[in-house]
């Protein structure tokens, strides 16, 4: 199924949870922050949160900055 991640279409397996998606993307589950359809998902809900087709996600983390 297609989902929109950080403004680009990506494919994810049906009924994937956030933890699966992040691992699949090679992202650090502990340090990223996820906004799913405009709502920030607490870290403790990553494993129980399922992705649906056409969901919109922002996946962000801290980078160097002044």
């Amino acid at each position: 199924m297609d989902i929109l991640v950080n403004g680009k279409t990506e494919s994810a397996p049906l009924s994937a949870c956030l933890t699966d998606l992040l691992r699949e993307r090679g992202n650090d589950v502990k340090t990223v922050v996820v906004e799913l359809n405009g709502r920030i998902v607490p870290h403790e809900e990553f494993a129980q949160t399922c992705i649906q087709a056409n969901d919109t996600l922002e996946i962000v983390h801290f980078v160097g900055g002044g």
Partner: protein, 258 residues
């Protein structure tokens, strides 16, 4: 000689008055050594989208250091609020440096949107540290909205041009009843020293250290400059004599050899 009092910011006592930015280092792996040499207890970071296999900076920041995420990329107060919420959700505390900028050439902060952002963030329990032009009215609006400090610029971001706004910063130090953390544009240690001599509460340095030939050595130099300026402020500088009044001998004017 009495010891200096700690710098209390957002209710937290800080020993170091040098804040460190983490942008533009040749490699993020330099940051632990730079952080240690700087003595900084507060370090800024930015929040950005994660690419596939993208690694963030968190792993390179010593765990005893307080993170100060910025809202860079925000052009409006609402965008700053969204970034601040995301930053808080990262679980690294509730301090946020508010940066609201829509000017892409000089990267000057939008005072109106910044003051609005302070109001929105403070309502959500965030310790708001706004990056501002050194403008008295903007600083007052931020103070009234509940900012924990204001962060006026010395010069445009990333320019290494030094304390170009000296007169305006001096007015903020005199008039605003909040810590003044001078941010952006510093190029050399002597410049942060001057800001601290004037009574700034702290200085934030990034590019000057990141772009130095030896960033770790430069971080140590900035640490000492901030400390020297702070000590000079506490000591109280002597009066300046007008040029037309000539010199005033330091040595006695009596007892000369014949």
């Amino acid at each position: 000689m009495s010891a200096d009092i700690p710098f209390i910011l957002g209710g937290i006592p800080l020993q170091s008055r040098l804040f460190l930015g983490t942008g533009k280092f040749g490699a993020d792996s330099l940051i632990p050594a730079v952080a240690e040499a700087s003595g900084a207890e507060v370090i800024t970071v930015a929040m950005r989208r994660v690419n596939k296999n993208g690694q963030g900076i968190t792993a390179h920041i010593p765990s005893n250091i307080r993170l100060l995420p910025n809202t860079s990329g925000a052009r409006t107060a609402e965008e700053a609020l969204r970034l601040a919420r995301l930053a808080r959700a990262a679980g690294c505390g509730t301090w946020v440096k508010i940066e609201v900028i829509s000017d892409t050439r000089y990267l000057l902060p939008d005072g109106y949107e910044t003051a609005k952002a302070v109001e929105l963030l403070v309502k959500e329990g965030i310790t708001a540290l706004p990056y501002i032009n050194p403008d008295l009215y903007v600083a007052r609006a931020c103070a009234e909205a509940g900012a924990a400090a204001v962060m006026p610029l010395a010069a445009p971001i990333g320019t290494n041009r030094g304390l170009r706004t000296k007169e305006m910063i001096a007015i903020l130090i005199e008039e605003i009843d909040l810590p003044i953390v001078v941010d952006a544009g510093f190029g050399r240690p002597s410049q942060v020293c001057e800001a601290m001599e004037m009574g700034a509460a702290a200085c934030l340095v990034n590019t000057a250290i990141a772009s130095a030939g030896e960033p770790v050595r430069m971080a140590a130099a900035f640490k000492r400059a901030v400390e020297a300026g702070r000590q000079a402020w506490l000591a109280g500088a002597g009066a300046v004599r007008a040029r037309q009044d000539g010199a005033e001998a330091s040595s006695p004017l009596t007892g000369f050899l014949q």
